[in-house]
Symmetry: C2
Subunit: 690 residues, 2 copies
């Protein structure tokens, strides 16, 4: 993909001239686009080009905008809304005229299986270096440029860039945002993504001065690893919020048929989010809440939240939710209570939530918030549950005064409930830069995600270095498939993976020397390229207690498997003790090599205990994987038992990550079981698929 | 508590005359109440009584309402908003005048520790048979009687009765509901609950013809078992929605300080909800959504949901959430697709979600919904994501036509996104009785809870019978505390609890006969009233393999514990095999006797696997408890292993439930471990606290 330096996207978002291709008849998209541009007071020129020859002059001249004939040529941006069969020729004429960007609204391409036609658009555009957004999209907006090249509700100005694969989700978010008074810097619906997609847009938005937060709605990804690298880098400086649709079976079915591309497994997607420092958001309302919080509040440094309210119930519901989401709503310390009691009436509750009661005043809110924000708490939620007889506007002023008097600003969110009686108060707060949420529970959600960003954006940095600089070059795997156990073992041992002592026996005469050097009991496993599931055919014999039993077992195998490519047998020291763990490598179609770890033995399915990360990663991420496991409690020394060698297990995961990246030929690798001890570990069995 | 037959609450909710006691100065509660009553066009008479002697005549005469002097006497209802120190004397004068009901708005009682004064109000009221709501409450409303005796936003008329301990939560819910156009039949804020509380209100609302759904906001309960019985009975005919505040540590702290009564443990509260057929709701917005759905839709019979949309993304987010919440979003069967393809364009998606695309028409929605609602699906969600150029009102008509043409109505919920452009459409739908939700995710939540109601209201019936008719009479425990192991065992064996074979040895001479009848290995446990934790002091000796070892162990114990009340030792056959389970009885301060069961051994804390139910319960509920456990997978025969004796374990739980109710003297009882086998089980150890 020929990717120009992203600064050239400026012509896409801040064009001087836009040409609209499509019917200018009422209710047609061409007509809607011109209406949106003119209604939005686009400051540049609009060329309405109708392939059917209907007059574009039916659009009124806009005061201050040059007449069509005076527009600069060529246009910076073409909006294409002609029928599908004409799109290619319109792109060709745009290309010939030197137009650098086109947004194709027209549908009827890969989303209904018509991929060939879609590919042709890209080929035609490539000839001229014309870059495309779409097809099958809802357009783009830049509120700071007054540019609304979209059929959706015009966004209010703001600091969030919203990038969406689904035009309809984009439209719904914009309409919901309008009700709440939440704005956007840019809106980009990229539809079928024949050319410009989420990765390039992220790169551009990273340095876009109008954008502080980036929100994405995704159904599928084209290149998972590139996307992850981009998110990891961008999220260091700007929060990246992601809604991923297609989590469930039915959702996935719809997402797949909807975009024509396979959505990745949800667990791996979740790992990508975690590793890259992005924030996963369940739905549209939560996304808007969080955009509001992130663009209006300072960063949240810690997890200690205080709730200041004028009514008990909503305060309790808020702290319940906050604690469920991992924040701490700690009881106020004695010194703080004393400070508050100096000016608050006795009937108030001082513990946290701090309840000013229905008699709470402007002054009460101001002083209380000043005290708690000046204390060890990291953030505050101020709740006002109004009655029709309460002066909510005054309470809003109290909150604003407290916020503006902060020397080192901490996040302060407000909840004003509800309806008409608090409208005035909400407006004052919003104008003063305080976000107002419909319920305390939603404010708690926003703070919990803000804290997650604080934690994750730090670790994302190292993930990025790992992913970018530290990614080792791929190597071919030393053997052809199928790989036999002796070869696999010697290869893996070279890479530092520990196995129980063993000998490869190809001849019965080697047995006496082998058993002298191994401790009983021993295990014998058949070696044959033709036998995949050794246990199922009696190819694994356990608990061999002396040389005679080994001799007998080997002879028996040689006889039984003689016609099935018998090449010998592996003789192992039998390991049984230790906690059983499983770990392995898989190739994910979207994100490439991933490493998994989980509880082994009977726990495997019972507690469904596993963690996954996209390779490569370092020790910090491996430790984080282990922390995610329920089995983590056993690793740490559970119920007085001695702690197990967590470090050795983390080390194994990093080695697996390295192996996965260096040897992409390994399609699947399983260590099952691994026996984890108080010191070190041993791999009980291995399976490799190339 | 003298509880009159609930029909007499009619005078409380539909009074002919209301007397308001309190200052009539602007901004005082007395003034606010009279204003609310008059603004709400109260059809009866209002007497404004001001203890300070300020003129109530400052209130304008209301057309159609008799002059104050013409009001019938005595009033049916007194609203009391005088300062705390005067409340008692106002109650006394009301009582003397024969007023049957009073709502006390005044605060400053038990919520700030002033319980004595609060108790006195009740005593005074009891003298006259006067029934009280409050104190410290926000009042009551009956929208069908035009009676708004509350300082909160006046509710719109509707079919949900909202009962709330917190006046502020009540006010917030009313204000949120007003924005959404959601109404109520009654609003009752009962504050400190000195007299009338949730139980009597539930009993009254059960037969209230204006009420179809009952929603409760609770912080604490006065009598958990009475409440549970009331909910169990009411929820058979009307859904009971419960928001319980104080789930978290900080929330509980606030709830406790807020109401002065101890909130019960959240797990036990959850069990009560489950057993009684109520629906637990996390917050206010979810509550309103569900009230809207339950009061406007027919009952949901099954869990198969179909989504009809005009845009992919929101359809996917909806089915993702629906499946996460346990509903089924099954692919449409071939015959259905054929039916749809007969009239829908080819570019539509037919799988489920069914995507009509942005070109979806009124006719398209109507016919599609008619087909899917006539098929095997149990409910449908119709989503319209509008653009400013789409005629949403027409789509609303299509949906309404489909709904009204149903012969056997199934729930049909709508999602119209968003803002001004869909206002007209939403209004039409609501007028036509179709609930409209802000997002598809919220519609999915409503349907999931409606299905939960269908499932639970059936089982609540049996729970009720169990709880009412089947509750056995309490018996004294046969022994005084502390109870010794031999006594406990013989008592429990009589009740049918199975223990390993055992003998009580008080003299070494009994040992030869005992070991002849027991199988080795054996376990010896000291018996002494002074030793509580036998293992800790070496009072349990395992793996005794012959008579000599038993003799030696007994002599050793007699010597070591001679001065610590040694009374002998219990000799058991040692049981080790089997799955370890723990079960027991606890007395909950709110709900009385409860039975617990969980995974034993190493799994106990690792998977935090336990279930609890309030006793008494029957086999069905015991089976449900086991289904709740993760260990359930092992019980059922996990990974090819033979199934364990689930029936024996369920039977043990029912026996425990019976024991708990019959013997309230048992404060705590633990069976830990229980060894569960393929046939039967054995209790390895028991601990009883009286």
């Amino acid at each position: 993909m020929a990717s120009p330096s992203s600064s050239t996207f400026d012509r896409l978002f801040k064009p001087k001239t836009i040409a609209v291709f499509g019917s200018v008849k009422q209710n047609k998209i061409g007509h809607q686009l011109v209406t949106q541009l003119t209604d939005g007071k686009f400051p540049g020129s609009i060329l309405a080009v109708n392939p059917k020859g209907e007059s574009p002059e039916s659009f009124p001249a806009i005061p201050g905008v040059p007449r069509l004939s005076q527009a600069p040529f060529p246009p910076d941006l073409a909006l294409i809304a002609v029928p599908a069969q004409f799109v290619d020729s319109v792109i060709r004429s745009c290309g010939e005229a030197g137009v650098p960007f086109a947004v194709v609204f027209t549908s009827g391409f890969s989303e209904i299986g018509n991929r060939d036609e879609e590919d042709r658009l890209k080929e035609t555009a490539d000839i001229y270096g014309l870059r495309l957004i779409g097809p099958n999209c809802a357009g783009i907006m830049d509120t700071h440029a007054g540019m609304y090249a979209s059929i959706e509700v015009r966004a209010l100005p703001g600091k969030t860039a919203f990038v969406t694969q689904s035009g309809a989700v984009g439209g719904a978010v914009l309409a919901l945002a309008e009700i709440r008074g939440i704005g956007f810097s840019k809106f980009i619906s990229y539809g079928n993504r024949v050319d410009i997609g989420e990765v390039e847009l992220l790169e551009y938005l990273e340095s876009d001065p109008d954008t502080e937060v980036i929100a994405l709605y995704l159904e599928s990804l084209q290149n998972g690893r590139e996307f992850m690298r981009a998110v990891s880098r961008v999220s260091r400086s700007k929060p990246v919020l992601i809604i991923k649709a297609g989590r469930s079976v039915s959702g996935l079915r719809a997402a797949s048929s909807h975009t024509g591309s396979l959505a990745g497994s949800d667990e791996i997607f979740a790992a990508m989010i975690r590793q890259s420092g992005a924030l996963r958001i369940p739905g549209m309302e939560e996304m808007l809440d969080l955009c509001d919080g992130l663009t209006s509040l300072p960063r949240l440094k810690g997890d200690r939240v205080v709730v200041v309210t004028n009514s008990g119930g909503p305060g309790i519901l808020t702290s319940d939710r906050a604690e469920e989401l991992g924040l701490k709503v700690k009881e106020s310390p004695p010194h703080l209570r004393e400070e508050l009691k100096a000016f608050l009436p006795n009937h108030c509750a001082f513990a946290n939530p701090i309840d000013l009661t229905v008699e709470g005043t402007q002054e009460g809110y101001r002083r209380t918030l000043q005290v708690v924000l000046g204390s060890e708490y990291d953030a505050a939620i101020a709740i006002n549950v109004a009655t029709p007889f309460l002066d909510s506007a005054a309470l809003a002023e109290g909150i604003l005064e407290a916020a503006s008097s902060q020397k080192q600003p901490k996040p302060l969110a407000a909840v004003f409930m509800a309806g008409e009686i608090v409208e005035d108060g909400i407006e004052r707060l919003q104008k003063g830069g305080i976000p107002v949420f419909p319920t305390g529970e939603r404010a708690a959600f926003v703070l919990s995600k803000m804290y997650e960003y604080t934690l994750r954006s730090a670790s994302a940095e190292s993930a990025l270095e790992q992913a970018a600089g530290g990614e080792p070059a791929p190597l071919p795997f030393p053997n052809e498939a199928p790989i036999l156990e002796p070869e696999a073992l010697s290869f893996l041992e070279e890479q530092g993976f520990p196995f129980p002592e063993h000998r490869y026996i190809t001849d019965a005469e080697q047995i006496p020397e082998a058993v002298r050097n191994l401790r009983f009991p021993l295990v014998l496993k058949v070696v044959s390229a033709q036998i995949l599931h050794k246990s199922d055919v009696g190819g694994v014999l356990l608990k061999l207690e002396d040389e005679g039993q080994v001799q007998h077992a080997f002879a028996d195998m040689a006889r039984r498997f003689g016609r099935q490519g018998f090449q010998g047998a592996m003789l192992y020291r039998q390991v049984m003790e230790g906690l059983e763990i499983i770990a392995g490598i898989k190739q994910d179609p979207t994100f490439g090599p991933v490493v998994l770890v989980g509880a082994g033995g009977v726990l495997t399915e019972l507690v469904q205990d596993s963690a996954v990360r996209i390779a490569p990663f370092g020790t910090g991420e491996a430790e984080d994987m282990l922390s995610e496991l329920k089995t983590n409690r056993i690793l740490a020394g559970y119920r007085g038992s001695t702690a197990l060698d967590r470090g050795a297990l983390a080390d194994l995961l990093v080695r697996l990550s390295d192996l996965a990246v260096r040897h992409p030929a390994i399609r699947e690798l399983d260590f099952n079981p691994i026996f984890l001890h108080q010191r070190g570990l041993l791999i009980g069995d291995v399976r490799i698929i190339l």
